[in-house]
Symmetry: C2
Subunit: 347 residues, 2 copies
């Protein structure tokens, strides 16, 4: 992976994210506080500002990557980050709309070490709270007097449709036989589900800085490719683990029979190991032995090396996009630090 | 109920709705066709353009009341209805977003004599298709060069949040004991769930006609009060029926223990019949005898007369709002005809 001397350790990005949380948090909360009572309660719980009974808690445990990208992109292109605040909040609201609905759809019961909103308040309240966050995001942009707001709203709406397509594809792929899933389908799904919103965040920052169309597209490409790099890394962690840093146990995705990118790469590798893996995916993988064997087979089929190369390749593409949008490396530093922070977890 | 010589029979409104469907339909369909494949399939089914297997069908069976209100409001205020087309389509998309999600939330399996989308495609696909229709509505407005588009987008987003609050309140009221529900709560719920979008449709038409703030508010009031009048009529039909016209069987809402407005009015009437009704609502009402007895008790408690008076009162308020926005009765005729069409079903 490409790395810069200043950003590799992630200290700069961590500090930037903390500053972003401090700056965006009050605006985000003020927006959520405008929601009608019963919906507000679910939203305040989901974001981590309240317990289920309304007791105040420590506050959002999300990393605020997306708002940080909006503000950093605006700054990198000579814009005033403060004036892009509504766009930063809108992107974070959209991200949380997807989390609320995805948890319902995937029947996930835990997020950030707490029960998911639907598990606590029921499916109706979680679906409705998600809907309201999406509408609130759009409302913020539609009421924003900034000259870029309307184009940003159009771009964000198009991105939401892409996120929907990604989530739909994810569900559809999970239903299918592992050996019938192609790598192209998995990549398209990851692009829509993970890349689109990171790309949109960067594009919105560029729009709010008054950038031209080509620069906006390059910024979108930077965020999108960074998101894909992240997805490869996340899929590697889901198999070979990185428990010290993420808390995600080794083999978690394998035990869940997840069709992650390294798995599908291995299954479609045409190697003898592909058949072995298909057989393993046809049965339960509950014991450490079974999971370990699957991980070993995926590695033998080339899935691990391939995913690591893809992560590096996507990161290189991201940097290339960024260098077109922001030729001066010093000015691009914040964005590069964020991209490396997102993807550095196994490095 | 207030009536005008020209509109009472509903012929004018029926013709206007047919013209609206002809005019809006192609734009609505073109918008839906831009959705990604798997989501488009669910949306085309939901609107009635396709069967589950993709076979073309007769097309939308919805009445297109909301787009008709947008276009009629624009025309009544001297605007060009054609230029308000995107707003009309956006409002219809938002309406259908609520139908898709409400059917999931309420676990309703039938809509317009066909299986609901979630019953056919599953909860994930129906939730995602609803999300996508909402995002598509916002995208249409955000990409609309009309000078009113941004204010319309803000108003529509605020309306969606109100719709969410109405649906949330509806769920919450259904969970509670019938005698603990107040009439104010029911009215607030009906205002948010039914009145808000009809009001928003009229307000968007006014915005696209370049109307001032006061006129836009009056138009919102007209649509909103018409919506409430409709809700009272619909609740009356849900108890005493109007099978010839609507196909809704007598007592359907009672068998479902629905806390409709006449029921809550009766329960909170302070009459001896209120206690009788509470007792009936505490048990099953499956036989025609039980349902008939409940209907008789609600009538004795004053619930039927009250609801009829409220419907007439709301319609009078609607007409009052309309006369402020559009003083010339001839110019207001289309809108009046639509409002009377919506509420005329038992008259």
């Amino acid at each position: 992976m490409t790395s810069t001397g200043t950003a590799t350790e992630g200290h700069e990005a961590a500090a930037l994210l903390e500053r972003t949380r401090d700056a965006v948090g009050p605006h985000l909360r003020a927006a959520v506080e405008t929601l009608p009572g019963a919906i507000r309660r679910v939203a305040l719980y989901h974001f981590g500002w309240q317990d289920a009974d309304g007791t105040p808690t420590a506050g959002p445990s999300g990393k605020a990557i997306r708002p940080a990208l909006v503000l950093a992109a605006a700054r990198a292109l000579g814009g005033d980050a403060e004036s892009a605040m509504r766009a930063a909040v809108a992107v974070e609201l959209v991200h949380n709309f997807t989390l609320l609905h995805d948890d319902v759809i995937d029947e996930d019961t835990t997020r950030r070490h707490r029960p998911t909103a639907w598990a606590l308040f029921g499916v109706p309240d979680a679906v409705i709270a998600g809907d309201a966050l999406l509408a609130l995001a759009q409302r913020l942009l539609a009421e924003d007097p900034h000259p870029a707001a309307m184009e940003a709203a159009a771009r964000l709406s198009a991105c939401v449709i892409e996120l929907c397509a990604g989530q739909q594809a994810d569900c559809a792929l999970e239903e299918r036989e592992p050996r019938d899933v192609t790598l192209d389908e998995c990549l398209a799904m990851a692009t829509a589900k993970t890349g689109a919103l990171l790309g949109c965040a960067c594009a919105l920052g560029a729009l709010y800085a008054g950038a031209d169309g080509g620069t906006v597209r390059s910024m979108d490409g930077f965020g999108r490719e960074s998101g894909l790099a992240f997805q490869f890394i996340d899929d590697l962690i889901g198999i070979w683990g990185d428990t010290g840093r993420t808390g995600k146990p080794v083999g978690a995705d394998l035990a869940a029979h997840k069709k992650s990118l390294p798995v599908v790469a291995a299954l479609t590798s045409g190697t003898p190991a592909a058949g072995e893996l298909a057989a393993l995916y046809g049965g339960p993988m509950n014991t450490p032995g079974e999971v370990g064997r699957a991980a070993e087979v995926i590695e033998r089929a080339g899935g691990r090396d391939w995913a690591q190369e893809c992560a590096a390749d996507r990161m290189a593409r991201a940097v290339h996009h960024l260098s077109r949008a922001v030729p001066d490396p010093a000015t691009a530093e914040e964005l590069l630090a964020l991209a490396e922070f997102v993807t550095r977890r196994t490095h």
